[in-house]
Amino acid sequence: MLRYILKRVGIMFLTLFIIITMTFFIIRAVPGDPLSSMARNLPEQVKINFYAKYGLDQPLFVQYLKFMKNLFMLDLGESLVYPGRSVAENIKRFSPVSARLGIQAVIFGFTTGVSFGILAAFKRNKWPDYVVMFLAILGVSIPGFVTASLLQYYFTVKIPLLPTTGWGTTGHTILPTIALAFGSVAAYARYMRANVLDVLHQDYILTARAKGVPRFSLIWRHVIRNAILPVITILGPQIAGIFIGSFVIEKIFSIPGFGFNYVSAIQNRDFSMILGQTIFFAALYITALLVVDILYGLVDPRIRISGKR
């Protein structure tokens, strides 16, 4: 088990390293001097000082090393567009919002989706199955931004039930969470249903029935425990989807979150901000994947004992 964890952590660091390096060089390689627009009207000497301040007068590789050094000390630099505002500060200010939204969406998505999947499997070919499958197909077919827009239209304008945009109360979080989680609910439901049906055909379920295990225990201890394992493997990519989807959702609902901030940094060409936030985002995502992988290792006794898949 330990071997398994160490291996995953190792890959995580390696990937992170590659991403950071790649991002750094790509951003630097983008045509257009980041500061040119700002520095255009400054006299020559001031311009030189200006560039020196941001270290942009040094050769690229030196800049890279300096950057990595700063990174180790968790210094992500300053915004190029809004001087004085540090990247880290920005992250600190906006990410709690996104975090809350993201966590809500993941929990909601997983529990709802898995429950629906179980329901559909047990009521196979009866109406609950059809309803769940229909919703699931919808969830997989309708893009997130469409769901969000529709929800916004129907539940805030047509029927003014919830606030349209903004952030602050719990009410503000409901629609965005649903919009964000809709796709995952669908994915979990479909996958869980397939797994439960698969498990129901396994020999060990017959053994359990032959033992006289009562229906409820059978479902809980024998069916669900085995069916849910593979579903955890898609937890990782689903979390990824939530990360990505949040950018758009935040825009639609005008939520002052990390994603929203990130997109505006891109639009402003604020390179150091982009760099810093991209790294943060990547690190977060990779950590989430790692946690899911470890979780899977803990839950599946076959991996827990032997350390390999």
Binding site: I11, I19, V146, S149, L150, Q152
Partner: protein, 313 residues
């Protein structure tokens, strides 16, 4: 009462008790007619009404994206400020947009782009994935190990990051769009193909074929490929909507097709601001995306069931 239940009224006569030996006529008759794997799969698919319906819907959509633009009689790019933001009516079946352009023709023209992007993305990543996975699976061992590590790292990189980086570097447009979609999109297919090949390699019938003297080329084409093919087909069917979705998303956030070209995602994006007043502008492109994704998904489900050799009848 079944027709072959014993008729107790038949009298037993001595001539019925003469030993004649076994009648092998009956025994051979029960063999059902031979049909090939593909014929059987097609038959099963046709029986599956949902999947078949999805197939028909898909064909309909494809035809519409090819020809729908010309049906309404309006151009997709001519603007007319006099008829801006009009609700759907008899002349403009899907209404008009902010610049007075007919949405019916725009939706179908955009659909062409979306479909093409989806198909193109799926084709490219399938191609790359197959080759990569095929090589990894065929050679196995160290090569396979290294190749799989690379994939592991690639899949850990957040998709959005790739997209943003590519768009930053290459700017906007169709090329960066395709690049962004396929940069990591092939990994799934590669894993799948490699897994299949590894599995099939171990199969006893391959060993048997080798023992019977079949050459490597024959083994690859006849055995490895045929089995992997069904998996690949199903995978492509699920990949295409993924790419259409990706294209819609990317166009939505502004990376992708630029004006005056349009795609479903771009149309959805453009309608965002006017959503409260003119929801129909979002409705139609969104509906088309949903229908396309829906039919591909249902078709994929049906294909998967039809091609599964274990369910063969």
């Amino acid at each position: 009462m079944k027709s072959n239940e014993t008729d107790k009224t038949v009298q037993l006569t001595p001539d019925m008790f003469v030993i004649e030996g076994c009648s092998t006529i009956g025994a051979e008759e029960i063999n059902r007619p031979e049909i090939t794997y593909w014929e059987d799969a097609w038959r099963r698919l046709k029986k599956n009404r949902v999947a078949f319906g999805a197939l028909l819907l898909l064909i309909f959509l494809l035809v519409m994206t090819a020809t729908g633009e010309y049906m309404g009689g309006y151009s997709h790019e001519v603007t007319d400020s006099a008829i801006r933001n009009m609700w759907p009516d008899k002349t403009h079946w899907f209404g008009t947009d902010e610049l007075g352009r007919d949405l019916f023709s725009r939706v179908w023209r955009g659909g062409r782009v979306s479909m093409l992007m989806g198909l193109l993305g799926a084709t490219i990543s399938t191609f790359i994935g197959c080759i990569y996975g095929g090589v990894a699976g065929y050679y196995g061992g160290r090569t396979d190990n290294i190749m799989m590590r690379i994939i592991e790292i690639l899949t850990t990189i957040p998709y959005l990051m790739v997209v943003i980086l590519i768009s930053l570097y290459f700017g906007k447009g169709i090329f960066p769009l395709i690049l962004a979609m396929t940069a990591t999109g092939w990994c799934g297919m590669a894993r799948l193909v490699r897994g299949q090949i590894l599995q099939v390699k171990e199969q006893e019938y391959v060993t048997a074929a080798i023992a019977l003297g079949a050459g490597p080329w024959r083994i690859i084409t006849r055995h490895l490929l045929t089995n992997t093919l069904s998996i690949i087909i199903v995978s492509i069917t699920f990949d295409i909507p993924r790419f259409i979705f990706a294209e819609a998303f990317l166009s939505y956030i502004g990376l992708g097709v630029q004006a005056p070209d349009t795609s479903w995602g771009a149309l959805a994006s453009a309608s965002q601001q006017n959503l409260m007043f003119y929801p129909y502008q979002l409705f139609f492109p969104a509906l088309m995306i949903a229908l396309t994704m829906l039919s591909f998904t249902l078709l994929g489900d049906g294909l998967r069931d039809a091609l599964d050799p274990k369910l063969r009848q």
